[in-house]
């Protein structure tokens, strides 16, 4: 296999694996930029995956081709509702945000499996029939070398993920809403003094993170796994959290990191059929994203600074 052939093999698969990570990591960026740590991303993805699969199975006959897209909407709404629980706990109830996030993760997987067992009478759902399609992007896919690598047989979910990343960058850095969001995460008291409703901004941010993580989970379930069980979203949410940190709390950085992690994930799966890479023990590829995140945090790959007020409940009138 030539080098170029290997690239044609890996790059599309990396982008394919990265799509759910990109969306979820961007969700994390919104939440943490507003000052709310969201370790619950994993749980939000689980609910997204569960509802996505459920919707797909139940309504595939009714909606046909449109089913996966409508399933994304259903998953988004479900995860948004679950994220409200985290918002209420960490913003209104002043709970420890990390603990609340852990509770969200436990709750989501337990609730999803409980319902799966109740509905299907077994620990796993059936496989879905309606899946996302792949497309050759006109004109662009005809470009030599780059065309087949990036623009042929692309999942439209990958395009959606990249589009949302760019949109998120625009919203966070180029709009008044984004400015307020960041100010609330850096110095909530100053923001409050300027008349910004800190609690409301944080609620909105957590809900956005829930919505995006829900879509991410549903995409993962409907493109990669095809069904839902307890191991479907096995650490994808934490991987997204890692991507967010690795990307230094910046939407495009998070996207880049997610693409890289997607690359690592696809390597660990397609690696055994690629020369040289098949000689590397699989475990190194599996732990690569996590090790890199630790190194990034330790400052070996450039300092990453979290938003200053991240994790601190804002209590009005307290200095």
């Amino acid at each position: 296999m030539s080098f170029l052939e290997v690239l044609y093999f890996i790059v599309p698969s990396a982008i394919f694996y990265a799509a759910p990570l990109i969306l979820t990591a961007i969700g994390g960026v919104f939440s943490e930029r507003s000052g709310v740590i969201n370790i619950g991303l994993e749980g939000l993805m689980v609910i997204g995956a569960f509802v996505g699969i459920l919707f797909n199975l139940f309504y595939a006959d009714t909606f046909g081709n449109a089913t996966p897209w409508l399933a994304l909407v259903a998953a988004m709404i479900a995860a948004l509702l679950l994220s409200l629980v985290h918002a209420v706990a960490s913003i209104s109830f002043r709970a420890d945000q990390t603990v609340s996030g852990v509770a969200i993760n436990l709750l989501a997987i337990a609730l999803a499996i409980y319902l799966v067992k109740k509905i299907f009478g077994k620990g796993q759902t059936d496989f879905i029939t309606e899946r996302f399609g792949r497309y050759d992007i006109p004109v662009l896919s005809d470009i030599p070398v780059i065309g087949p690598m990036f623009f042929s047989s692309v999942y439209n979910t990958s395009i959606l993920a990249i589009a949302i990343a760019i949109l998120a960058w625009f919203v966070i850095y180029k709009t008044p809403f984004g400015l307020r969001l960041r100010s609330v995460g850096e110095h909530p008291m100053a923001a409050d003094t300027m008349g910004i409703n800190v609690a409301r901004m944080r609620y909105v941010a957590v809900m956005i993170s829930g919505a995006l993580a829900g879509i991410g989970g549903a995409i993962y379930a409907q493109t990669i796994s095809g069904d839902f069980g307890h191991a479907t979203i096995n650490g994808q949410g934490f991987m997204a959290l890692a991507a967010m940190i690795f990307g230094k709390w910046h939407p495009l950085g998070a996207m880049g990191a997610a693409l890289f992690f997607g690359f690592a994930q696809s390597l660990s799966i397609v690696g055994p059929s690629i020369p040289y890479i098949q000689d590397i023990p699989n475990v190194f590829l599996l732990i690569l994203p996590y090790v890199l995140t630790i190194l990034a945090l330790a400052g070996f790959i450039g300092r990453a600074n979290a938003p200053k007020a991240n994790g601190i409940p804002y209590i009005k009138g307290q200095r």
Partner: protein
């Protein structure tokens, strides 16, 4: 109402709310909560066998809870207990199968190996926190996944490509004929004694040693501790190492007591994450951990009876546990509520 009373009331109310939410979910999904909770109760206290198994289930929770609580007391949040427990599990099982020695050497060696492995897994986030000010929460989460993948790969190597190791030699086993005869041949093992001993050790370290005093001081206020001449960095690392050692011992309980082997895992055991709940419920005190672990160990083991006896998916108990954690974390609101209720009483 005194602070002490509210401190005890918050977890109690959280548990009640958790059970209530569980009952509501059972009702909505068409199950009878009374039958469900009866099945849970019988699953915990049904006969001597189930009581033995419940106690066995409590054992690793005791150690996971201690690990989280110990780190908490030093102002650190160790979410990595899960990973530390997994490496401890592997290390103990590995020593158990790799060599055959007289019991008096073999068993302590296997236990120590588990503690050392857990301590190593706690040392990394401790070191990074102390030297580079990296938040331990993220590092420990990442270390969990590294532990999972690395042990899976090691199990494959050790077992020659298989999914589990051989069973450990009897000389490394915690199995107890005395307990087995007492409890109709449940898998209850001597580990529970080690776990309770460790509760004592944690109490002793925190309350009776200089180290414990310093750890608590660092937990309360780092700057003041530094000003008082304490080596804050050393204390952070030490706290994570000791916490990791407790967690590793939790793994040894599974490796040497319950299963007597280690198998590769598709996902986490969940014991480490539940340890967070155990510690929170126990207000991070050694005695509290006993209560927390008893509650969670009982719920977890009792839940196994629910699908058979009542046809209810056992995940209902996981939901209850999550809700309990949620309310304990939101203790502020419960305190507020209690305060208002107390004021109303006074006004009357």
């Amino acid at each position: 109402m005194s602070i002490r009373a509210t401190n005890i009331l918050v977890p109690v109310i959280s548990v009640i709310l958790g059970l209530l939410v569980g009952a509501i979910i059972m009702l909505i999904s068409g199950y009878n909560p009374v039958i469900g909770y009866a099945a849970l109760w019988n699953g915990i206290f049904g006969d001597m066998y189930t009581i033995g198994e419940t106690l066995r289930q409590i054992t690793p929770y005791l150690l996971a809870g201690l690990a989280v609580a110990f780190a908490f007391r030093s102002g650190l949040f160790n979410i990595g207990v899960e990973g530390q427990l997994i490496v401890g599990w592997f290390a103990a099982a590995y020593v158990g199968v790799a060599v055959e020695l007289p019991k008096i050497i073999h068993l302590p060696l296997a236990i120590l190996a588990a503690a050392a492995a857990g301590a190593l897994w706690g040392f990394v986030p401790g070191l990074l926190k102390a030297k580079f000010h990296v938040h331990e929460v993220i590092v420990t989460i990442m270390m969990n996944y590294i532990a999972l993948h690395v042990t899976n790969a090691l199990i494959k190597t050790v077992s020659g490509g298989g999914d589990r190791t051989e069973s450990i030699f009897a000389s490394a086993s915690l199995r107890s004929e005395f307990f087995q005869n007492l409890t109709e041949f449940s898998r209850l093992h001597y580990g529970i004694i080690i776990a309770l001993l460790m509760v004592g050790v944690m109490w002793f370290i925190l309350e009776k040693t200089t180290l414990g005093f310093e750890l608590k001081a660092v937990g309360f206020n780092q700057n003041a501790s530094k000003y008082a001449g304490m080596n804050v960095n050393k204390n952070i690392i030490l706290a994570m190492v000791i916490s990791g050692a407790f967690a590793g011992l939790g793994g040894a309980m599974e490796a040497l007591g319950t299963f007597e082997y280690v198998s590769s895992k598709a996902g986490f055991t969940g014991i480490g994450f539940d340890g967070i709940a155990v510690a929170l419920l126990g207000m991070n005190t050694p005695l509290g951990v006993i209560f927390g672990a008893t509650l969670f160990g009982s719920l977890k083991y009792g839940a196994l009876n629910m699908p058979n006896a009542a046809g209810i998916p056992l995940e209902i108990v996981e939901i209850v546990i999550a809700v309990i954690i949620f309310f304990v974390a939101s203790g502020y609101v419960i305190r507020l509520f209690l305060l208002r209720a107390a004021k109303k009483k006074e006004a009357k």
